[in-house]
Amino acid sequence: MLPPVTRDAQLINELYNVVLALAILTFLVVEGLLIYSIVRFRRRRADEMPEQVHGNRTLELVWTVVPAIVVAVIFALSVDTLGRMTARGTLSNPVAHVHAINDQEARRRVERAQPVDMVIEVIGRQWIWQYKYPGGDGVITNEELVVPANKNIRLDMTAADVIHAWWMPELGPMIYVNPGQMSYVWFNVPPGEYIGQCNVYCGVAHANMISRVKALPQAEFDEWYAKQAAATSTATRPGDPEAGKQLFMNSSCVACHYIEGTKAQGRVAPRELTRFATYPTIAQLDGFENNAENLARWLRDPQSVKPGTAMPNLNLKAQEIADLVAYLQTLK
């Protein structure tokens, strides 16, 4: 297993190792008996007739009861581990049940489950994760979940289209993220960068639906957040094609879009972008002329321009839009 960085992941890891040891023991017993029998009891004479043993009640009782005890131990250990994990519900505090009922009482159970310093709303959609930060600044990121380190973080997650799954192996339990339902994950991690990816098959770019968590010390986080908040509302400088390219290539754009000779090898969007600037229209929409203003509008909210388009609203910040427009207009 990957080295655990949260207490929950640590608990899973410890349980895994204990159960694995029991499994290896059983494996050795079975394979040992098998190999010994093959060597020791192979037929030596064509006419030999072994003793005709039909069974042995004592022996059979032993290999019914002993495995039953081993299984009971594994069950007890598992229940115990579940009880000690913060991220999933215990019997007295069944957070997981929230999925099924999704009401105010359930909500309160989630609040009680674990004191938190920050709640981030997560939306899973084909084929990105979007992170909405609390507070009125409208900060939303698509690529990376940046959190303060050593703080209790809760993710309130839902899906916009099909089922996805949140799986960060180092950070604790995996959970499905269902449309129309809420899933919750808690973690508290030291500074560092962690990677995982969607773990329920969700369509053509499923393999590209990566999730990244970056934990920064509080001061650095605050600095990062202030920058995001500022960039969300207004662009602070004119669009920079190089910054736009960086953004494009390091984001989920590449999951669906194709630009020859780059990392963008997605084949979901109907037209490739290799020579985007030469196209007369955006999104093959009659009358929607390909210019900077329209392109910015499209990037801000594709659904309002062309309802039903596969292009999601990426909640791009003003500066990001300016940079992307500058970059896309260099594609000739």
């Binding site: 990957l2 098998l34 019997l91 799986w167």
Partner: protein, 540 residues
Amino acid sequence: MASISIPLPLRERAKTGLLGWLATVDHKKIGIMYMVMAFSFFLIAGLLGLVIRLQLAAPNMQIVDAHTYNQLFTMHGTVMIFLFTIPMLVGGFGNYLLPLMIGARDVAFPRLNAFSFWITLGAGLVMFGGFLLGARSDASWTAYVPYSNKTYSPTIGMDIWLLGLILLGIGSTLGAVNFLVTLYTMRAPGMTAWRIPMFGWAMATTAVMILLATPVLTAALIMLVADRNFNTQFFSANQAQLWQHMFWFYSHPAVYIMILPAMGIVSEIIPVFARKPLFGLRAVVISTALIGLLGFTTWVHHMFVSGVDPVLERFFMFTTMVIAVPTGVKVFNWLATLWGGSLNLKTPLLMCIGFLATFVVGGLSGVMMASIPIDQYVHNSYWVVAHFHYVLFGGSVFGIFAGLYYWVPKITGRMFDDKLGKLHFLLMLIGFNVTFFPMHHLGLLGMPRRIATYAAGRGWETGNLIATIGAFLLAFSVLIFILNVLKLRNGQPAGDDPWEGNTLEWSTASPPPEYNFREIPVVESERPLFDARWRTSHLP
């Protein structure tokens, strides 16, 4: 061996040639057709698997694009389960062997039997024909809603896939009814419950499972067809788990439908090649029935991270772990049958040993995964891919090959080349483990299943490369089997009973005549042929 004379039914002279196959209601010919069909689908789905392994051999491979890859793994899983393993074990071995083993001249409803086969073949052709013509589903074999609804899977491929499965369900259900009636009403005189061969018990349990589980899947499939085409709302967006409940209510028992007949095969072969009775026959029978029963109480373990009630989860964790006990009893009883025997290490027994050695790994990883916290790590990862291949290839496929090496001499009247068989066994055992063992490790490193490609730098390169090399070794071993089948034409004549068998099929000619037995044998023990041989050689 005692026997009673029942006049042969007056039949038209058996038709020969192509029409003899197309119009047949003979359980043996139907069984052979099932086997040939299933094995063909095994080869096709195996080839799809090789493309999958090639694509994953290294990071960022572009052998096929992501869309095609998704169609390939969907079809690989669907074909292996529904068009190979189940028809091979239930339709193929079940049809050919059940009447022979219980001393009957055919199944209870021969025409219905033929209908089952043709509808199964038809379903296979619909599904695979659609695939070849471009109507392909890419929703994986589990087809989770809402991905499989009209919004996210708009193409006709999904409907074709659903139609194919509905048809297969009909064939499979009718076959199960037929087997149960046959077993209940047509056993030879003297064949009391405890004298039914173990394979018969395995098939009886399997048939009951098919009867109880298949209607639920069929209902779910029809509801999804309605959702897609008539705008019903059975699986509306806020009920993500309903499909999963219905799907796994069939598809978890389906695992036992695929493994119990293989266990039945192993339980027949080991006693013959050890020259000992099956150790603790009654315990094995009861364990089989218990596995069948408990198999219906475990489906939610596929949904431990889907978001179901935690009390429910703990209940299903318990039942899933409990099923390890009867499974363990069977494994230890097989080991005890080998112990102290006189082991004739021919290919059929080697395949059974391969079954035991590898199935145990899948069984143990199954218990591990039943633990909810562990499942929260390994669920849907390559660890799971390793687990179910250890159960379904290590278990079912080794069992199928054991059965083929054991009974094809009865079916064709010719012996396999045993040396070639041993080579096949050795390469398959190595190839299988090289392919699937590293996948445990890949899963622990965070590699999800069903990804069309992956980026470099996450430690997945070596494991994937090894697995791909193993897959080609595995494929090569199957080629050796095909060579062995082609060589059958010149094989040694098998005679009635080449292995010193225990059960009634070895008392008739190889291949058996259309009516199976001229005189219906009277059964006086669980091993009628063994006892008959013993009497001839030891009594004055």
